[in-house]
């Protein structure tokens, strides 16, 4: 069983501004799997996502995370990305003056270089990009706009998915990518993510809502509450959460 394990989170504790947000998270993700992490606001979902990507504001106080058997926290954020970890940000950052195309190519080339592949020139890169753009239903005008600058909420989320498609990570973590999207945009995003599923990669969907899971069927659903995973199950758990909310789990956790 362990040979397919891509990510192993063991008793992870993390703080932000001195406040403990993660209080012992355990999670195992195997290649080929899609995990959904659900939970009420403030349960630590985004913290978990950001800690895995290496956000500088969070401090890991205990536990460890193995990514492909290696210590994830021993790698700076850029190395995690080059090794195949990708976080789709809940609040993507705008960068003025830098076009999306330049940004994407810089990222692709940083990863290619790390893998010992030749870097792509502007023309080759654009050719490779055209196909990816089509998948998310974008025209190339988005490439000449500055990164996320003046983008609507939905455009920013789509831009994260474009990066996901272009960078082709082994482990994709989507932090509430579905929130703020209208039904059509959600469908496009979900279908893109679904198309990218392969036996050798995995996805963690951090979400508040059931609806994205109607497009991407998760293998495992976890409920994060109070900084811990309080329940895990199949996709029927997501449906149960949709119907009953989170309160019953909180009570269960308190009783336990």
């Amino acid at each position: 069983m362990t040979e397919n394990v891509l990510l192993q989170v063991q008793d992870l504790h993390a703080t932000v501004e001195g406040r403990e947000v993660l209080r012992g998270v355990d999670l195992t993700v195997r290649a080929g799997e899609v995990h959904a992490i659900m939970g009420p606001n403030g349960s630590g979902k985004s913290t978990l996502a950001q800690v895995l990507a290496g956000h500088p504001a969070y401090t890991v106080t205990a536990g460890r995370v193995l990514y492909e058997g290696k210590d994830l926290f021993g790698m700076p954020p850029e190395e995690r990305a080059r090794e195949g970890v990708f976080l789709a940000f809940q609040y993507p950052v705008a960068i003025r003056g830098i076009t999306n195309a330049y940004f994407l190519r810089s990222a692709v080339n940083a990863i290619r270089k790390h893998r010992g592949q030749e870097e792509l020139g502007p023309v080759e890169f654009m050719d490779a990009l055209e196909a990816k753009l089509e998948v998310i239903g974008w025209d190339s005008s988005y490439l000449t706009r500055p990164v996320n600058d003046g983008f609507s909420g939905g455009e920013k989320k789509r831009n994260e998915i474009l990066q996901l498609a272009v960078l082709d990570p082994k482990l994709a973590i989507l932090d509430e990518t579905d929130s703020g999207l209208d039904i059509d945009a959600l469908k496009t995003v979900a279908q893109t993510v679904d198309k990218l599923r392969r036996p050798d990669n995995a996805t963690i969907l951090v979400t508040h809502y059931y609806r994205i899971l109607t497009h991407i069927a998760p293998d495992v659903v976890h409920v994060l509450a109070g900084g811990r995973i309080v329940k895990s199950g199949g996709k029927e758990l997501a449906l149960e959460l949709e119907e009953k909310g989170y309160d019953w789990l909180r009570e269960e956790a308190t009783v336990a």
């Binding site: 990507a53 290496g54 956000h55 500088p56 700076p76 954020p77 850029e78 995690r80 990305a81 080059r82 990708f86 976080l87 940000f89 993507p92 950052v93 960068i95 003025r96 003056g97 830098i98 330049y102 940004f103 810089s106 990222a107 940083a110 990863i111 790390h114 502007p122 500055p146 990066q163 960078l167």
Partner: protein
């Protein structure tokens, strides 16, 4: 203070010598203005940091240095000397130490009807002289600014550009102001650009010094008149040596429905002060002020802009970005005046400063003076180091911290470069920005 006072005295003495000598060939009307200007300079003297307009910028080093006014003839420079500063193969006017260098200029290759020459030559030619008289010294405020007064007092040469109604000067005209730095020279180049009704023009002013030159001071004034419905793109690159001084005024006046884009790239000089005074003097005129300063070492650069909305329905959009490293100091002061009756003014100003070291400093001061009620005016400014969230975002995509910092820094410049419409000019500016920031190829 006595040094500053004696500094003023030196210029008065130099003026007396100049008035008896090189100035003698000028038309009588200009001689009168020069006399008034030197008298005004004597009254104003060099500014001190006690004056609000000069709070952050001390010109004591200029006042105390014994600069000389070089006697012509100007030194011979080969075409090689100017090559590094040229952008394209278009028409050009080369001014060396304040004097027109005919052998380096190719002003004759301008489109039909367009007049490009040295200002000194224009003042000797009947038609041009009459035109110059109608505009020259009428806009730049030598009564208020001691440096504009000094430039006007020593006004002798520079570039003269006249684009008649409906004519087009599309391939950018390059005006290159080159200082040789011999004998601690000061030059006062004066340029007049008149673009008449419905005409189009693109002009690049480049200020530079030849290598191995000592300290020098360029005290420049350019006046730009944009006629009704005319369209002008004015680019300006200042890349003087780090030992040099530069004080300059760019003064524009726009008539109805005209467009003026002023694009500034400030890279050079140890001490630089650039005043941009733009008057929107006809309804429906549009102005874009788009500037970038990249400073390092102990450089000090001060940009003072005044946008004067004198008529209704005008738009001005101002974007100035600064990247300040090492011990450098950037100053931005952006004043916007909306005169009574200038209704439906649309004005936007932003000034963002990126500090690359803890010793770097930037001062940003917006000043809005609004005397009309139906106006839209916004302004914003920032001063700070690289945003850690932006840095993290780029790193999370696989970029090293060094590459990420380079990209974010370059982004400050690229945002400004993106508004430059002439591809060959933009490419040259981009190259200069990349050279300065050490950022790799796009």
């Amino acid at each position: 203070m006595s040094d500053v006072a004696s500094g003023t005295e030196r210029y008065l003495a130099d003026f007396r010598a100049f008035a008896h000598n090189g100035a003698a060939v000028a038309p009588a009307w200009l001689k009168e203005i020069r006399e008034s200007a030197i008298a005004r300079f004597a009254e104003l003297g060099f500014p001190t940091t006690k004056q609000e307009e000069w709070r952050f910028t001390s010109v004591a080093a200029i006042a105390e240095t014994r600069f000389t006014h070089p006697a012509s003839p100007i030194p011979q420079l080969g075409p090689r000397a100017i090559e590094p500063f040229l952008i394209g193969g278009g028409p050009r006017v080369v001014i060396v130490d304040g004097h027109y260098a005919a052998e380096l200029s190719t002003a004759s290759s301008t489109p039909k009807g367009v007049r490009v020459s040295s200002l000194a030559a224009a003042l000797r030619t009947d038609g041009d002289s009459a035109l110059a008289r109608g505009h020259l010294t009428r806009y730049a405020r030598w009564q208020e600014s001691p440096f504009a007064a000094l430039n006007t007092a020593f006004l002798v040469d520079g570039a003269f550009v006249h684009v008649p109604a409906d004519a087009t000067l599309e391939q950018p005209l390059e005006i290159l102001y080159l200082a040789t730095g011999r004998e601690r020279t000061v030059s006062h180049p004066r340029t007049l650009v008149v673009v008449e009704r419905g005409a189009r023009a693109a002009i690049v002013e480049t200020f530079a010094g030849v290598a191995e030159g000592g300290p020098y001071w360029t005290n420049a004034v350019s006046e730009v008149v944009v006629g009704q419905g005319a369209h002008v793109e004015l680019y300006r690159v200042q890349r003087q040596g780090p030992e040099s001084f530069q004080i300059a005024t760019t003064q524009s006046r726009q008539e109805r429905d005209s467009f003026l884009g002023v694009h500034v790239l400030t890279l050079g000089a140890g001490l630089a002060r650039h005043d941009i005074n733009a008057v929107l003097d006809g309804a429906g005129a549009e102005l874009i002020l788009n500037g970038l300063y990249l400073l390092n070492g102990a450089q000090h650069a001060d940009h003072h802009t005044v946008i004067d909305h004198a008529q209704p329905r005008c738009a001005s959009h101002e974007f100035f970005n600064g990247v300040v490293g090492e011990r450098a100091h950037g100053v931005f002061n952006g004043r916007i005046i909306v005169r009574p009756g200038a209704q439906r003014t649309d004005s936007k100003q932003t000034n963002n400063n990126l500090l690359l070291s803890t010793e770097a400093r930037a001062d940003s001061q917006p000043q809005l003076e609004i005397y009309a009620d139906d106006v839209k005016c916004t302004h914003g400014s920032t001063v700070g180091p690289i945003d850690p969230m932006q840095l993290y975002y780029l790193r999370s995509r696989g970029l090293s911290p060094e590459t990420a910092r380079g990209i974010l820094t370059y982004g400050f410049g690229a945002e400004i470069l993106g508004r430059m419409r002439h591809p060959e000019v933009r490419a040259q500016m981009d190259r200069l920005v990349r050279e300065r920031l050490g950022e790799g190829r796009a």
